[in-house]
């Protein structure tokens, strides 16, 4: 690996701050749901290193992210504010992705180059490939990242999209956040192989399996894939092995299908804990700074919650707008 693609200390610290903020926000939204305020929540806890590490490898606002519902850290790292995000969860006016017409985190934010069009899993993978085709046709060196779960890899759309991207050497990265479950269905019932990356060879692109809790590995692997894509060498499939610490969504009860032991085991590789230990050990951060980072995050999230809760609902006069061009 090219050494100047390696992560540096400042970036690591920056990522840590983002991760703390995301975790704090995520916990808050989960609480808002438990209080009956937020409608539904798919937690990103355990996925953050994959999301933050990969976004850090992009040119923000230029490259594009086609995300899915669990990508809270992608949204946050790209620039959405916690208040904007909470507005989505409590369906308030000013929610910037869809004007609270869609489920939380869904819609689009062209300025940040982020799209989360629908809840229909895997449909966004061909769409991301279409955006990559646009980049190629327009001769722009934009890179598109399609984020998706292990579950999405079973869908026909995933196959068709990967195949097309490989044929045309399109600048797209297929970033699979493999947490071992599609709601309750474990990997063993989703595929007869151990990993999604095994599919890449059959399409004619590199398939790289990485520890998605190791943020440096995520960053460095994505940097390489981005370089490949910008150079016109085509797509890469990155499979980041991550963990899901909470039930599938706030509507789910995972105790029916998953042992608490398994979750405890998974928590040993909590990306937040790992990064914190690394920063402390390598003295990039001390304990006091850590406390400050956490307090700061809590403060931001508190203010954001207040702002969002005080916002009104969207106006019904706009209900019929944006069906067709006006």
């Amino acid at each position: 690996m090219n050494t100047n693609l390696k992560i540096n200390d400042a970036l690591l610290l920056q990522m840590y701050k983002e991760m703390v903020l995301c975790r704090t926000l995520d916990e808050r939204i989960w609480m808002l749901n438990r209080q009956g305020k937020a409608a539904i929540m798919a937690s990103s806890q355990g996925h953050e290193a994959g999301q933050i590490g990969s976004v850090a490898a992009l040119r923000k606002g230029y490259d594009q992210c086609y995300i899915y519902y669990r990508d809270l850290a992608v949204l946050l790292t790209l620039g959405l504010t916690p208040a904007e995000i909470i507005k989505g969860f409590i369906a308030k006016k000013g929610e910037p992705l869809s004007g609270a017409r869609q489920f939380p985190t869904h819609g689009a934010h062209p300025t940040y180059g982020v799209i989360n069009l629908s809840n229909v899993i895997a449909t966004h993978i061909p769409q991301a490939v279409g955006a990559a085709l646009t980049a190629k046709i327009m001769k722009e060196d934009r890179v598109i990242v399609a984020y998706f779960g292990d579950g999405a890899s079973s869908a026909g759309d995933c196959h068709e999209a990967m195949n097309f991207a490989a044929i045309h050497k399109l600048p797209v990265i297929f970033f699979c956040e493999n947490n071992g479950y599609a709601i309750s269905v474990p990997l063993s019932k989703q595929m007869a192989v151990d990993n999604v990356a095994a599919r890449a060879e059959g399409y004619g692109m590199p398939g790289i399996e990485i520890d998605g809790c190791d943020i440096a590995a995520v960053y460095e692997t994505t940097i390489e894939a981005v370089a490949r894509a910008r150079a016109g060498l085509g797509p890469t499939l990155i499979e980041a092995n991550v963990e899901r610490y909470l039930p599938h969504t706030s509507d789910d009860d995972d105790s029916i299908y998953r042992s608490s032991q398994e979750i405890e085991e998974a928590k040993k590789r909590d990306p937040l804990k790992l990064l914190r230990e690394q920063l402390l050990e390598r003295k990039i951060m001390n304990l006091k700074e850590d406390t400050y980072i956490h307090e700061d995050a809590k403060d931001i999230v508190n203010k954001a919650t207040e702002e969002a809760e005080n916002a009104p609902y969207p106006e019904t006069v706009d209900f019929f707008k944006h069906v067709y061009a006006e």
């Binding site: 017409r101 809840n119 229909v120 899993i121 895997a122 609902y313 209900f319």
Partner: protein, 327 residues
């Protein structure tokens, strides 16, 4: 008689049919250990085992296609689509293939499969957990499409669907799952597919509806009684094949028809019902045939005030009743 919910009725229907007929099995996402995201198949895995309770990968087109292959080769699959909003990838296998199995093989093969899906809104489900999909299946000869409204109907109709020798799309309104309770007999019964049911008799106006809207229409109809408007509520139960006789019958009696449905109005089930009335009951009509269907936006938005704009409720139905009464 026991009082149960729509969800329980559906669970009972499947459980009884699986006990009665070895060929019946279920497949879909999260239907095993999880018991389905709505718990429709709660307990099935332990009772019937992994071979008859199959957790599938996230791949709807093949859920339909594999069910179809199993149906053509002698089994009776019940395939669950987790939410009707994710049913589009099955259209190729269901509308394109299953509907034509019998016709295209001159009766040598048939496809006794049931495709179940929870649909409909009013549950803060937003664009992609609220859609109604009956119209996309009801257009095609060869399919049957059932949309029950009560526990009694759901159980009797689902049992008929499982025993039916042709493909049946069974669309359960998710808002009725736990909300709507009703009596269901202890003893075995079925309800014929393709027969509508008068849920409330009346003389002045016929409301023709199905699914969740049956309950809103009944509420509006009882309200109307207090203003001396006698409303008949006909629950279609099955939207393909339509029970033309009952539809024409009620309109011949009242001379006024209001068709209520939650799905987008244009080219929805109500369009066909209105067309049938205007062709076959023309001489009995005392007023225009009125449809009250979903508005011209692609689907139901998330935020509560916006969702309420979309949903048809007893208030909107009452207004339509009054206008029609005064015509």
């Amino acid at each position: 008689m026991a009082v149960i919910t729509v969800l329980e009725a559906i669970r009972e229907a499947m459980r009884e049919e699986m006990r009665n007929d070895e060929r019946v099995f279920i497949m879909g996402e999260d239907i095993g250990a999880r018991g389905g995201v709505f718990l429709a198949t709660d307990g099935f895995l332990s009772e019937f085992g992994e071979e008859r309770v199959i957790d599938t990968p996230l791949a709807e087109s093949s859920i339909a296609g594999i069910a179809l292959g199993a149906a053509m080769s002698g089994l009776r699959p019940i395939a669950e689509i987790e939410f009707a909003d994710f049913i589009w990838p099955t259209i190729n296998q269901i509308v394109g293939e299953a509907a034509k199995v019998r016709y295209g093989t001159e009766g040598k093969l048939n496809a006794p499969l049931v495709l179940r899906a929870p649909q409909g809104g009013g549950v803060r489900g937003a664009l992609y957990h609220s859609q109604s999909v009956e119209a996309l299946f009801a257009h095609t000869p060869g399919l049957k499409v059932v949309t029950p409204s009560t526990p009694y109907d759901a159980k009797g109709l689902l049992k008929s669907a499982i025993r039916d020798d042709d493909p049946v799309i069974f669309l359960e309104h998710k808002r009725t799952y736990r909300l709507v309770k009703g009596e269901v007999p202890e003893q075995e019964y079925t309800i014929p597919i393709g027969k509508a049911d008068v849920k409330k008799p009346g003389e002045d106006i016929s409301i023709i509806t199905y699914g969740l809207m049956v309950h809103h229409c009944l509420e509006a109809a009882y309200l109307a009684s207090s203003e001396n408007i006698s409303v008949e509520v006909l629950d279609l139960r099955t939207v393909r094949p339509l029970d033309i006789e009952s539809i024409i019958g009620t309109v011949e009696k009242t001379g006024k028809a209001l068709i209520v449905y939650e799905d987008n109005q244009a080219l929805g089930i109500g369009s066909e019902v209105a067309a049938l009335i205007s062709q076959h009951a023309f001489e009995y009509l005392d007023a225009p045939v009125i449809r009250l269907g979903g508005p011209e936006v692609p689907a139901m938005p998330f935020s509560p005030p916006l969702e309420d704009m979309f949903m048809i409720d007893p208030g909107k139905i009452s207004t339509a009743i009054k206008e029609l009464a005064e015509y």
